[in-house]
């Protein structure tokens, strides 16, 4: 498989101020960006927040190429959303919605670029601990995040492979030749991942 593009940036070793920022604060920023995307109603405010998040990303030392790659990965879907919203609700609303999504993507990238995955999972486990009293297993929360991070590049890579296969057979304009194989491969991948996790004893309840 090739073309496994990452929607959000991988961890980049470093000692920037963002790297040294406590995990809870980074979580809080991501959560705030998510909440803000529902609250901000002016596209210029969205633009300012987006610029701030891009600035924070560049402060991590991960580089502008990683930032552009993270943005590039969501460009096709944002283009579709943006054009549809423009047609339905006008330019300012379309710009606001697109910028708000980008704010969330960049905020998530700041978090993942400056936090080792294991630290991220430890953080999720700590956050989920209060739910233990309701029968939830914090390690399962962490595992869900891990599987999600793993699955995004896999599905992106599958799409690249399927697109190449369709091109080789002259079917690049046939949406069925693209969508169905990606769907089937993704379902098979989900089953394989489930088997692999079960075989390693991951995702099972902590107590007997």
């Amino acid at each position: 498989m090739r073309g496994h593009g990452f929607l959000i940036a991988n961890y980049v070793r470093g000692n920037s101020i963002i790297h040294r920022t406590p995990l809870w604060l980074k979580f809080l920023v991501v959560a705030a960006c998510g909440t803000a995307s529902f609250l901000i109603v002016d596209w210029t405010v969205s633009l300012v927040v987006f610029a701030i998040m891009c600035g924070l990303f560049l402060l991590t030392g991960a580089g502008i190429r990683r930032l552009l790659r993270a943005i590039w990965m969501v460009t096709p879907i944002l283009l579709v959303i943006g054009l549809f919203q423009w047609w339905q609700l006008g330019g300012p609303t379309a710009a606001r919605i697109v910028l708000n999504v980008l704010v969330c993507v960049v905020a998530a990238s700041v978090l993942t670029a400056t936090t080792p995955v294991q630290a991220l999972l430890d953080g999720v486990v700590a956050l989920a601990k209060p739910f233990r009293r309701f029968g939830a297993d914090p390690e399962r929360f962490a595992l869900t995040i891990a599987v999600m991070l793993r699955s995004i590049p896999f599905i992106a890579g599958t799409f690249s492979d399927v697109r190449d296969s369709a091109r080789a057979r002259g079917l690049e304009r046939n949406p069925r030749a693209l969508v169905l194989p990606v769907f089937i491969t993704t379902v098979a991948y989900a089953r394989q991942t489930g088997d692999a996790l079960a075989a390693r004893g991951l995702g099972e309840p902590e107590r007997d």
Binding site: L149, Y189, Q192, A198, E204
Partner: protein, 245 residues
């Protein structure tokens, strides 16, 4: 206690559009005590189903499987702690973006302290000669390195039994040799299905599976000879299609 028993095990699965289930394995009774056990047979013969029974990925429709005193259905958690499983395609079992993170993921249940977990992961990766690749994306590794990493991640929790389902299928000759040497040096009891008959010849005992039944159970050389004879007989009875037409 340190043996694996199959007691009259059958596995059947429902078939769409049919009332009659499909039989994957039929009446298997075995006691596995040898250090190295090979399972060989044609595609679809039931090898993978036999191996998957060993850590509860497949449940018997009849009979039971007992691994070191634990039933694979009733005590599945303990069984999975004891039985490590390596799949054919390492990409389907490596969950994390890098090798270091994947090994650490294996250790999350057993070592809660993140510092100790990281230290243990370093030791495991170093043991398999993978430390210099620890922080590379799993996609940037070669097939052999990925397979070794999958093995390292499974062995990190020190299982008593290691099950490998056709581990050399996707490997080139060099990496196959590397895997062969690595497996030979392991302390664990190893049960491995393979199409690599050289690898099968390294085993202490070989099972030949054909249409869901064990048709041979004995020494490696005799087992491989039996499998070759079975393949030859099936080619004679079902000649290959003529692709030139």
């Amino acid at each position: 206690m340190n043996s694996i028993s199959f007691n009259n095990v059958s596995v059947r699965v429902p078939v769409d559009g049919s009332n009659a289930p499909k039989t994957l394995l039929q009446g298997i009774s075995l006691d596995l005590t040898e250090r190295r056990i090979g399972v060989i047979g044609a595609n679809g013969s039931g090898k993978s189903t036999l191996l998957r029974l060993l850590n509860g990925l497949v449940e018997p429709s009849e009979g039971n499987v007992v691994v070191h005193g634990d039933d694979t259905v009733a005590d599945v958690r303990r069984v999975r702690g004891n039985v490590g499983f390596v799949f054919t395609d390492p990409l389907s079992q490596l969950v994390m973006p890098t090798g270091r993170e994947d090994v650490e993921l294996s250790l999350r249940r057993s070592i809660k302290n993140s510092g100790k977990r990281a230290a243990r992961a370093e030791i495991v990766l170093d043991r398999f000669g993978l430390l210099h690749l620890a922080d590379q994306s799993i996609y940037e590794l070669s097939g052999g390195e990925r397979q070794l990493l999958a093995l390292a991640a499974v062995l990190a929790v020190d299982p008593a039994v290691l099950v490998l389902d056709e581990p050399s299928t996707l490997l080139d000759l060099r990496n196959r040799e590397l895997l062969r040497r690595t497996v030979a040096e392991l302390d664990q009891q190893v049960i491995m299905s393979t199409h690599d008959l050289d690898l099968a010849l390294d085993m202490d005992r070989v099972l030949v599976v054909e249409s869901g039944r064990i048709v041979f159970d004995g020494g490696a050389a005799d087992g491989v000879a039996r499998y070759r004879a079975l393949c030859a007989a099936s080619l004679l009875s079902e000649p290959l299609g003529d692709v030139s037409r």
